[in-house]
Symmetry: C2
Subunit: 601 residues, 2 copies
């Protein structure tokens, strides 16, 4: 069950693909060069391997529970979260003025991966708290920021996102929770929220709920939703904790996976606190602009959920490799051994492990380069460069979220498969990753919601310009590959070119037909997302191959670089090779998706 | 949670694709025409919908357990199995001379699907018993057959397959269990067997274990394995139950899914019975030919496990459709409704449901046509026809097993996905199918083992002749499609042709390179299986489309037939479209699978 953070690969992605050196030249990031990255990652690895990862399996078996509105977390979680906060991990990417370390996302993304590989259930608490911090940083008043952020950044308090109601899942227009102004600047909140991750727990002194609700004068639909701070315990001007607010955990869910992360039903306004009926809440930003602010949290969280996909894939990969090295079954098909061999020597086991590895490394490269674009979009001195990077990053978010999580389903399934019958036994641990991963394609917006975002806001809105700019960058990589004479470069070029062309054809199809044939375009939205994610991840590995070939020639880190070349080529030949088929389905197959009437199913 | 057996589609497959009329002309099957099929399926549906299906969800939550060597099954299982036996379901496909009904597999396969859709965990008991019956029918002495078969066929006793030991999973050469002759014709068996489905339970009076073990003089490896009957209770010549044999259930596994089916660790020879040390066993057939006999069980079981994949996919599909009709979220992208609509109207939900439906119907058509070939291979009067059908059936077994179970992983995952956040909550029930399905790609030979069979015994051995014969049949269907002028037929033809050509190229690659480049060929073995299964299932749906177009013209069952046309076209455009990419990976990508050395992972 041991986990070793892939620090070397992460540093490779930062340095060689994401341009960490350039990030470290930007104002505010002067200390964030390779040395810092290496030091942070090694400490992060040490802490997570030693403290957080060992709690993962036990937490799944014994996840704590609900009792009379209180939720106890799994054994060791409370103590570990104290260490997490004390170690400064919650504040890693947040501003130093509120006690954070102000490191770039380029480094932060890798730390999030490590934390999630160690323990997906545990890591959700800081992940959601990060989102709440982002929202308050963007839309909170200076007083709100001063009151809440330092304690959240230190890990003393945690944060939640309260969007979903039973009738309002993906469709937030249906939110019904109410917020009635009290005349003193505060509001009384009532309603029921479901699926609230770490909505109640025993790991922090206070929980800062960010809640979507409607004021009495609000218009219908998404334009009438406001965002409120509802602390579990009211906070005095000096930061001291006061009365218990009227928010009550009615139950927690019995889930397929991530069992050690309590998923709460929260009831607001049932007079279960010390403040009378109605939870006391404070408006964040302007009235009726709640969805906009929530999207700030959501976008941070979506990227992080994509990283969760990479994280669980990495963990499943490591576990499968370990088993495949140990388990001895059957003779090699090439006759290279007279007796039974470790199964890692069998071609199909290698195929499964290579698939897991290639997906994971490809998506990691995609996520870390996207993170660098985020950093540049906020910190680069040139506004034009900021703008370009913003567009690139926004295009990447649905890919990182959608593709990395979908691939994690395949990877964790292969992880079970490598174990054979043992994989199906819970004691082995491989099944947990399979169960845990399944939430990733659902929460913070299902894959379909990501795909709608990709089609609508990220492709159709600018007529495919950002997508085409990405394709041009890929073409530049193809040109470099074409100058190499290695077998690996040639094979990679062939598949990358075909995949990029398929991607471009789909972009043209989407941009050109979204108005006239919306059903046909949206019928292909998820396949488009999968194709785009596939191409971008494969592209990043192709860039990695170019670097790695140079390093091998120079005699640097030869084993690592040769493995990178092999992985990149595998990605091209086995995963990028799917792209033309997807294009055919999307461009020609829209009508057959919607041909059947609803009552004919 | 309700389940409705797809009787109409099953009858369509039998009648229009599998040639049930021809089956009913074969000696022994004279009563097995459409009327019989319909009556049997309707009764099967009634029984399983009413009695077996309602036990599925509760069995998962409350699967019974182990206590001091005894295993209690889930609530209602014992009573339901009594009804199953009394209803004659265990004997459906077995010879009337032992009390069975002697129906063709063409009909039996559909009944197995219904039983497994109703309850995968429950259905495993009859499934394994079927396998044990087959083995005794083939290799048992007349006395053994007379002693054991009537009670097994009546459902009074059940059967098991005891292959696996901790060190011997896929690799049966490593079996160590011992069988020492006692001089009286009996043997004393000792050893440990794991993963024994229904190895111990409370649903039957006796359990007939079929056990692989080695005699003292046996050669090493698979050529030294013999098969033994080891009854839980010794059986007198009059069929009466005697002493408790020395086979003891040491524990049952805590599994990811199929929780209500007890998976036992069985210890033989630990002096825990009434017979002294060593379980008393009886040789089946000849010494050292045990593997051969076990393969009879395995081949029956492999086909049935493929049907399990179809069954769980069908159940997941029905559940997803039900939810998608009920759940109201968001406006349709085409503006066809002013407010939020049932999610079944959203194109991506339709894409998911169509994918689930197309896979399920395609694999069902494949399995039922394969079953008809089995029937012809045993019952057709012409030996040449028998031989051709035998070759076709044997080629189909790894496809039915491998492809139908792999697709069930995708389908049950989509089933959860359609439910959004609710899918991740165990109470919803969709997650159970996702968990249950994962065993199907593992037991009775992993997908890789099926793929080895497809490459080695089914393709390389005859130089690809059987595979090419299948391709020629597909070409004949293409020719028929080419004579149609409908959009659906044209679209289907385009993808079927490309997929069949891809399949043929892979067959040439496999047959041509398996000796010289075994690693490269076996690196592509599972993708080859997936391609072959995909092409065959898509071909069957293309045949279905031809029939359905004719029926629509004739005004017969128009709604059903139009849905079939839409499903076939969807299959072609979205699933067959994957075939050329798979070909590229297999033919060009073999080297990159095995490039990384074992210690470089």
């Amino acid at each position: 069950m041991s986990y070793q953070a892939p620090v070397k690969d992460m540093l490779f992605c930062m340095q060689e693909l994401a341009g960490l050196e350039d990030v470290a030249k930007m104002p505010g990031f002067e200390d964030a060069g390779l040395e810092t990255a290496q030091a942070v990652l090694e400490e992060c690895a040490r802490f997570n391997e030693g403290v957080i990862a060992p709690l993962n399996f036990e937490g799944d078996k014994n996840p704590g529970g609900w009792n009379q509105g209180k939720v106890s977390t799994a054994p060791g979680f409370k103590e570990a979260f104290k260490q997490y906060g004390d170690g400064g991990w919650q504040g890693l990417q947040h501003p130093s003025e509120f006690g954070g370390q102000g490191l770039p996302k380029t480094i932060g993304a890798a730390c999030i991966e490590i934390n999630n590989s160690a323990n997906l259930s545990f890591a959700l608490c800081p992940l959601l708290t990060d989102g709440a911090i982002e929202a308050l940083l963007t839309a909170g008043t200076p007083e709100q920021q001063k009151l809440y952020l330092p304690k959240m950044i230190s890990g003393e308090w945690t944060g939640t996102m309260n969007l979903t109601e039973p009738q309002a899942g993906s469709d937030l227009a249906l939110v019904r929770s109410k917020a009635v102004p009290q005349g003193d600047g505060s509001f009384r909140i009532s309603g029921q929220k479901i699926f609230i991750t770490y909505g109640e727990h025993d790991m922090a002194d206070n929980i800062v709920h960010l809640v979507l609700a409607r004021t009495p004068t609000a218009p219908e639909g998404v334009k009438g939703i406001s965002l409120f701070i509802v602390p579990k315990f009211l906070v005095g001007a000096d930061g001291s904790l006061g009365k218990r607010n009227d928010v009550y955990c009615a139950s927690i869910e019995h889930k397929l996976g991530i069992k050690a992360s309590p998923t709460a039903v929260l009831v607001y306004g049932d007079d279960k606190g010390d403040v009378g009926p109605g939870a006391i809440g404070y408006l964040v930003g302007e009235e009726n602009r709640g969805l906009e602010y929530m999207f700030i949290m959501m976008n941070a969280a979506r990227f992080a959920v994509g990283v969760q996909g990479i994280a669980v894939a990495e963990r499943a990969y490591q576990k499968a490799v370990e088993y495949a090295r140990d388990r001895v079954q059957s003779r090699p098909v090439d006759g290279s051994q007279p007796g039974s061999a470790a199964i890692i020597h069998h071609p199909d086991v290698k195929r499964m492990l290579m698939t897991m590895r290639a997906y994971t490394e490809g998506c990691r490269a995609m996520a870390i380069t996207a993170a660098a674009a985020y950093d540049a979009s906020h910190h680069h001195p040139d506004p034009e460069v900021r703008k370009q990077n913003q567009a690139f990053y926004e295009f990447m978010v649905p890919l990182v979220k959608g593709y990395s999580t979908e691939m994690s389903l395949e990877v964790t399934s292969l992880g079970v498969q490598v174990h054979g019958g043992m994989g199906f036994i819970e004691e082995t641990g491989a099944a947990q990753y399979y169960r845990d991963a399944k939430i990733l394609t659902i929460y913070e917006g299902t894959t379909a919601i990501q795909a709608n975002d990709l089609v609508g806001r990220k492709t159709a809105r600018d007529g495919g310009q950002t997508a085409k700019a990405v394709a041009r960058q890929i073409e530049a990589t193809e040109a470099e590959l074409a100058r190499r004479d290695s077998v690996a470069a040639r094979a990679t070029l062939q598949r990358l070119k075909a995949a990029r062309e398929a991607f471009l054809q789909v972009v043209e199809f989407v941009a050109g037909n979204v108005k006239a044939r919306p059903n046909a375009v949206f019928a292909g939205s998820v396949p488009y997302l999968m194709l785009a994610g596939n191409v971008v991840a494969g592209w990043q590995l192709a860039r990695a191959l170019l670097v790695a070939e140079d390093r091998v020639k120079a005699g640097e880190q030869v084993d690592f670089m040769q493995a990178k070349i092999a992985t990149a080529r595998f990605y091209a030949e086995h995963l990028l090779a799917k792209a033309p088929g997807l294009r055919d389905s999307i461009v020609d197959g829209g009508d057959s998706v919607t041909a059947l009437a609803a009552d004919a199913f």
